[in-house]
């Protein structure tokens, strides 16, 4: 009897694993078939107004890159504070708040940036979109830095201090160096996450059909355009949305795998 129950439960658990993986495989296969079906290299050469995706891909990259340029240094320094300088309650509070912020609904962050940037400046802009993404990215970078620095052995820091180095020198030259690979992986994963975000961009950067590098106006965004295109009645728009989704997914997964590759190499050492 016990053995029978055991068999049944293990069978159910394996079955649910298969169901779960089946769903996920279904999504990926759909995406690849639909995406590859409408994929064409001319998509990279034309802007959306001519039926291509060039402006959107470039735009999304620029938004995420600016967000990273804002979020990474701030997040790293904040993570250093929590792990290295913060003693006691305040650092602990910041750590918890940063974890909470990481799970804050992304659309609420969009609304926040809308109220503090879009309304005062009079319209949607690429800058507003980048700010919204950087707010998304900040807590992820803090969390990663915090975790990775906590793995650096205390003796390394003590050795640095014993040599007469000041604390910030020890942090920058020794601790950060030791945790470099882990932090970089975390940052790559954070970048992969924000580059696929749609909700915070909907009313901050919006999207544009034209190629633009002007951050003070509506900025082309791949994800927002996927949302618009997928809701259009014409088959051709939807096909374009599938191709765009395919490119986005490949991009996100490639960044993710690169990050994992770094960690793998380190782990094998």
């Amino acid at each position: 009897m016990r053995l029978l129950i055991n068999k049944i439960v293990l069978g159910l658990s394996t079955l649910s694993a298969l169901i779960g993986l089946g769903f996920l495989a279904w999504i990926l296969i759909t995406l690849f078939i639909k995406g590859l079906g409408s994929f064409h290299f001319s998509l990279f050469l034309n802007d959306l107004i001519d039926g291509g995706l060039r402006n959107l891909i470039v735009g999304q990259f620029i938004l995420a890159a600016i967000a990273a340029a804002l979020g990474i240094p701030l997040g790293m320094i904040a993570g250093i504070y929590i792990q290295e300088y913060g003693r006691g309650k305040y650092a602990e509070i910041i750590r918890n708040l940063s974890d909470i912020m990481m799970s804050a609904p992304s659309i609420v962050i969009g609304a926040f940036v809308y109220a503090i940037v879009v309304v005062p400046t009079g319209g949607t802009s690429g800058a507003a979109g980048a700010i919204a993404l950087s707010i998304m990215m900040l807590p992820i970078v803090i969390n990663t830095t915090d975790n990775m620095l906590s793995l650096v052995p205390k003796e390394l820091r003590e050795a640095g201090i014993a040599l007469g180095a000041s604390k910030y020198k020890v942090i920058i030259d020794i601790v950060i160096k030791a945790a470099k690979v882990g932090i970089m992986t975390g940052i790559l994963l954070a970048f992969a996450r924000i580059i696929g975000e749609t909700a915070p961009l909907l009313f901050t950067s919006e999207t544009s059909n034209y190629f633009s590098l002007d951050l003070s106006e509506s900025f082309p965004s791949l994800t927002v355009s996927i949302y618009d295109l997928a809701n259009e009645p014409e088959e051709s728009s939807r096909d374009l949305a599938w191709a765009a989704s395919f490119i986005l997914t490949v991009l996100v997964l490639a960044i993710n795998l690169t990050g994992r590759f770094f960690t793998r190499n380190k782990g094998g050492k």
Partner: protein, 318 residues
């Protein structure tokens, strides 16, 4: 130099605090108009963007609760309420948040009911059943799937999953049910990954001693692993729930975006993030303020749930 760096790092860390407080204050002040107008009755009022003729403008608040809830208002018809009030002094446009709030809670509930058993199964499978050379690649696959942008789940759901659901259970393709299920599929990898991590914290010594006593795998899972990692698992599930609550894109494609209370699970309705995503651009005046009010409610709910999970269940897990 030391001082500068130290203060810089303190300032960056405080930024988190400032942003969170800033979000709260901004949402609150932006929704002030709607809060003053509707008060807490907003939460229980099922009408959205409904014009009401008034004989006595001072009696606005009393009318709110008496309206029948079959007043389907098209979400594309957001009008500039301020202009409207000026044109015809006797009408008043009413906004209530009950429908999106109910929609948000129900989709999350359906997603959880669907994802929880499957995620547990996957976690048990990965942590205990599968041999290492199978569980390792599947683990990576599941973590990668957790990274897929949510908009892709939405598109897949609308064009491939919803038609099948509609064939099976009848009703509309865009509905509470299909939105909840797609949301469930979306949080599945995330939930499975963190549940597996919790299960893996069980010391091997405990498991081995149970096996030595002649326990079956199921008994070890039920009597050793679950009790040991219970707190972590519950915390992880609540985190996944927090994520589902605030999800916009996977739901936006599937929920139907109509401001009506669903009478069946296969009816279309709307959730807070979707109400914001679809109406923010056209809204102004009181309508925009009401959307900010919804955002504030969502923010407070998710803040409360996540802090609860963090402080109560996941304390000390770092």
């Amino acid at each position: 130099m030391e001082k500068i760096f130290r203060n810089l790092s303190l300032a960056s860390a405080s930024l988190v605090f400032i942003i969170l407080i800033g979000i709260f204050i901004t949402l609150f002040s932006a929704s002030k108009g709607a809060i003053d107008e509707f008060g807490l009755g907003f939460i229980t009022n099922p009408n959205w963007n409904k014009e009401i003729s008034l004989s006595n403008p001072d009696a606005q608040m009393d009318i709110n609760l008496d309206m029948s809830d079959d007043s389907a208002s098209d979400d594309m018809m957001l009008e500039d309420t301020i202009l409207f009030d000026e044109d015809t002094k006797k009408t008043f446009t009413e906004y209530g948040g009950l429908v999106p709030i109910v929609g948000t809670l129900l989709t999350t509930l359906i997603a959880l009911a669907f994802a929880l058993p499957i995620a547990m199964g996957i976690a048990v499978f990965l942590a205990e059943i599968a041999p290492k050379n199978i569980s390792a690649p599947i683990s990576v696959a599941i973590e990668l799937l957790a990274a897929i942008p949510s908009i892709i789940f939405g598109m897949w759901g609308l064009y491939y999953f919803a038609p099948i659901i509609a064939d099976l259970v009848g009703g509309y393709q865009v509905s509470l049910l299909s939105a909840g299920l797609v949301l469930g599929v979306m949080i599945l990898p995330f939930m499975a990954a963190i549940t597996r991590d919790s299960m893996n914290t069980t010391p091997n010594v405990l498991k081995e001693s149970a096996y030595a006593m002649g326990a079956t795998k199921f008994e070890v899972i039920k009597d050793i692993i679950f009790p040991y990692s219970k707190v972590g698992i519950i915390g992880s599930v609540i985190l996944a729930l927090g994520r589902a609550l605030g999800e916009t894109m996977a739901v936006a494609f599937l929920i139907g975006s109509v401001f009506t209370l669903p009478s069946k699970i296969t009816d279309p309705t709307i959730s807070i993030p979707v109400a914001m995503a679809n109406n923010f651009g056209e809204a102004s005046g009181l309508g925009e303020s009401a959307l900010f009010y919804l955002a504030l409610i969502l923010f407070v709910i998710s803040f409360a749930i996540i802090s609860f999970a963090k402080l109560y269940f996941l304390r000390g897990t770092k």
